[in-house]
């Protein structure tokens, strides 16, 4: 029992401490790909520290939602990191770790961010919130259908079970339904974490920003929490993608050696996916907001096909 609690604590630390490093290395890789030198990979830690020691300015017109949201968003991400099977398929919080619960936990954070964006009453906040809600509403059906495609194959929505069964199936990658669900989920992950074809995390350009517009009113420790939570969300989505769709290396026993292997495998898979995202972000332009529904409906169709082909193709 103590061992499994220890594993959970390690998972929590990996997400909490590793996410700024992930964000920093993606920025660094993008900078190198674009011919710039870029800031150090540890820059996000410095940014977080800087924001934590600065004063937080809060508008007089805001309600409790504005102050409550950063803490809620950060704690939702920390809670989710207990549920996602990261190192081992035997997480003690696994009994709550249903994939549907996880997705709606993440949506709870999005919901409160959108409310907080509206709360201060600024034009940009409201614009950001309405855009974020458009994207969330369009991504939602895809997430559910892609999850059904995976869950149907395994016969359960428990994350641990999905990863365990996947690791046993050596021909997993030859399964069209699996690949289609992966592509659909990847597109949705880009949309949900505000990455490039949908939202540009690097700009504050008023016409295009979505996530940045919502959190424009935040400063000091609140901004630090939200930025940190954003990094954790990206980390969680990449972990989910790598462990649900490439489930090799995840420890099935709680012993030191398999867990160490699982850690190495996780680092390898997440950095591979992060590099793929960075390369993708360098090679494509942001979509116009009105074309985002086309992209997301495309990914919805892929998810739908994944479910259809589960029923017909063996």
């Amino acid at each position: 029992m103590t061992v499994s609690i220890l594993i959970e604590a390690i998972q929590l630390l990996i997400v909490a401490l590793g996410s700024p490093l992930l964000v920093g290395s993606m920025r660094k890789l993008k900078a190198r790909l674009q011919g710039r030198r870029g800031a150090s990979v540890f820059q996000p830690y410095r940014d977080l520290h800087k924001m934590l020691v600065k004063e937080a300015v809060i508008s007089e017109n805001t309600s409790w939602i504005f102050r409550f949201t950063p803490y809620l968003v950060a704690s939702v991400m920390l809670l989710s990191s207990l549920v996602v099977p990261m190192l081992s398929t035997r997480t003690p919080m696994g009994f709550t770790g249903n994939i549907i619960v996880l997705m709606y936990l993440l949506l709870l954070a999005t919901f409160f961010l959108a409310l907080a964006g509206l709360d201060a009453g600024s034009a940009f906040g409201g614009m950001g919130s309405s855009r974020e809600m458009i994207i969330a509403a369009l991504a939602e059906p895809t997430v559910m259908v892609a999850i059904f495609a995976i869950a149907l194959r395994v016969g359960t929505t428990s994350l641990d079970e999905i990863v365990r069964r996947g690791a046993d199936d050596s021909l997993l990658l030859l399964n069209p339904s699996h690949l289609l669900a992966f592509v659909a989920f990847f597109i949705v992950a880009l949309a949900e974490t505000g990455r490039l074809p949908v939202d540009n995390p690097a700009t504050h350009l008023e016409l295009t920003m979505i996530h940045e517009a919502m959190i424009l009113e935040y400063s000091g420790r609140h901004l630090a929490l939200i930025e940190w939570a954003g990094g954790m969300k990206l980390f969680l989505f990449l972990t989910l993608l790598s462990n649900l769709f490439f489930p090799w290396g995840v420890a099935s026993a709680l012993e030191p050696l398999p867990v160490a292997t699982a850690f190495a495998a996780l680092a390898l898979k997440v950095s591979g996916l992060a590099a793929a995202v960075a390369i993708l972000e360098t090679s494509i332009a942001k979509l116009r907001l009105f074309r985002v529904p086309e992209l997301l409906s495309g990914s919805f169709t892929l998810a739908l096909l994944a479910v259809i082909s589960f029923f017909f193709v063996r």
Binding site: L171, L174, N175, P176, L179, L180, P293, E294, S297, G298, F300, T301, L302, L304, L305, I308, S309, F311, F312, V313, R314
Partner: protein, 219 residues
């Protein structure tokens, strides 16, 4: 080992070919569409080669090779020449928007699986599982020719339809005899050559390759 992987590999390649047909609907520029057709033909010829190795048929392997030569290199080359001769085109909205078209395609795939289910169950070949996928390719090819406004995209829809029919024959019966296949390939090549000239004439006369324009009288 190979016997075990073979049906899965066939399913995967057939699904990839179907996936390129989906992408053709989402893709707007003509050059990208031609490249997608070349990609689909590439997957189909790889599939034919895999089946040829499995069935130990030299004849089928020759079909796969000639398919790759014709549809991955020659026909896309001809179509690319047509694209350069047409020049830049004002983008026009299709009869049906992308999201709706993609959704209809999803439904078409479901219909294909429903219609082809009896054939899949009664066919003893290990490739029969992918037959509905090929049939879905045929349906989507027809659908593309119907909903797109530009003549070139309609040709690509027709060519994808032809790929689908080839795939259907390949998966259901391990392919028709070499001589028949070559005849079909030559027909397709001639059809594409004629259609290329046709597109060029349409462009000369109407200053656009949008088929909607052709309904209007020209003085």
């Amino acid at each position: 080992m190979f016997v075990e992987i073979f049906p899965k590999l066939v399913n995967l390649l057939a699904s990839l070919a179907l996936g390129t047909a989906f992408l053709l609907i989402a893709r707007g520029d003509l050059r990208g569409q031609v490249r997608l057709f070349a990609a689909q033909s590439f997957f189909v010829s790889i599939l034919a080669a895999v089946i040829a190795v499995f069935a130990r048929s030299a004849e089928l392997f020759a079909v796969a090779l000639s398919l790759a030569l014709l549809k991955v290199f020659i026909i896309p080359g001809i179509l690319n020449r047509a694209v350069s001769r047409i020049g830049l085109q004002r983008a026009v909205a299709p009869y049906l928007g992308t999201p709706a078209a993609l959704f209809v395609c999803g439904v078409l795939v479901a219909i294909a699986f429903y219609v082809m289910a009896p054939i899949t169950t009664s066919n003893p070949l290990p490739t029969s599982d992918a037959v509905p996928v090929a049939f879905a390719g045929v349906l989507i090819g027809i659908f593309i020719t119907v909903i797109r406004r530009r003549a070139l995209t309609q040709i690509l829809g027709f060519l994808m339809l032809e790929n689908g029919i080839f795939l259907l024959a390949l998966l259901a019966t391990y392919g028709v005899p070499f001589i028949v296949e070559i005849g079909v390939f030559l027909d397709v090549l001639v059809a594409v050559l004629i259609m290329e000239v046709f597109i060029y004439r349409i462009k000369e006369n109407f200053d656009s390759i949008e088929v909607g324009e052709m309904g209007r009288l020209k003085g």
